[in-house]
Symmetry: C2
Subunit: 197 residues, 2 copies
């Protein structure tokens, strides 16, 4: 039996540090959740920001909460190209040397020197499920998404944590490539190759 996991297609979004959030929304401001996401405690917030580059802007970029250690912007390649950026494909949190932008909120602006990535396609697994599947954190697997036009994604990063829910995340360009639906079940092809090997 192949292992199947629920698909989540991530639209472009931003995670903010507490410090940057307060610069953009004012000291003492709080995020207002409008929708719970697949991972426990994560939510889409009512609040949005604009991001500005010398070549363009993305208006109304959704903030995902809660706040994080470091501000991070996740764009699909088509989004990035529109504002003249060419960010690398990176795991969440791996921001060294990535492009910066100016972020504009209702109470101020913040210029970040790095933080824009194309997020690596990845699968969240709780520790028990990962053990059952004999797959480790940071392993690379493949995943087959039927959609309306089938695609096998290679180099899908496994992320394991006790409180994760099994869920695969791809960006909107990847979702368009297979014409998949959100919450479609996708097949994980386990090959246990280690990242960087």
């Amino acid at each position: 039996m192949p292992y199947k996991v629920k698909l989540g297609i991530s639209a472009r979004h931003i995670h903010l540090s507490q410090d940057d959030f307060e610069k953009l929304f004012g000291v003492g401001a709080v995020l207002h959740p409008v929708k719970a996401l697949g991972q426990p405690g994560q939510y889409a917030s009512e609040e949005r920001v604009d991001i500005l580059t010398p070549k363009g802007a993305i208006h109304g970029l959704r903030i995902l909460g809660p706040v994080r250690k470091q501000t991070q912007i996740e764009l699909a390649p088509a989004d990035a190209r529109k504002i003249g950026l060419n960010p690398p494909v990176r795991d969440s949190g791996d921001l060294a040397g990535t492009p910066g932008v100016t972020i504009a909120g209702p109470q101020g602006q913040v210029a970040i020197s790095e933080g824009v990535i194309i997020a690596s396609r990845h699968i969240h697994l709780d520790t028990a499920t990962a053990a059952e599947l004999k797959v480790k954190d940071k392993a690379l697997v493949k995943a087959c998404i039927k959609g309306k036009r089938c695609v096998v994604f290679e180099d899908v990063l496994i992320r394991v944590r006790d409180d994760f829910m099994p869920e695969m995340h791809i960006d909107t360009d990847e979702g368009n490539a297979c014409l998949a639906e959100n919450e479609e079940m996708v097949e994980v092809i386990l090959n246990s190759e280690k990242k960087g090997d």
Copy 2:
């Protein structure tokens, strides 16, 4: 040795019938080639049109020449969504029941009742190469595109004609999913499954 073929990432475009072309550009107008395409005799033309739907417009859509029997518009899913269309994935020329749009040119407008598709990912092969690979017209194969993030595309339609040049075509959303470069060499995985089987 796996068979390798050159990749062409097709941006949204339109093919026009002679009749529709003359309605849009005037009787006796001709297309002016600006760039030869991978397939012999095919070219991107200087001329562009706008396409209009009740929900939006795409301006400056490139016409590919020469004229064809029937007008056909090929969009990536992201393009289609922007103007409120949800066209099916279809082989070139298979237009029955596909959405229509209004096309606007410098000399007039044409409303087509059908003709907008998301083109099936496909590989052009000349007859000799197809025979060598033992693959037939309309067979479905897989193709592995390394890009900056590797994807295996399934259900890649083989099209065979004496005057074709070996070349794989995908749309811009598919190109973004693998972050491939135009003219990158991609690996064809022959499995000889017949379409519709």
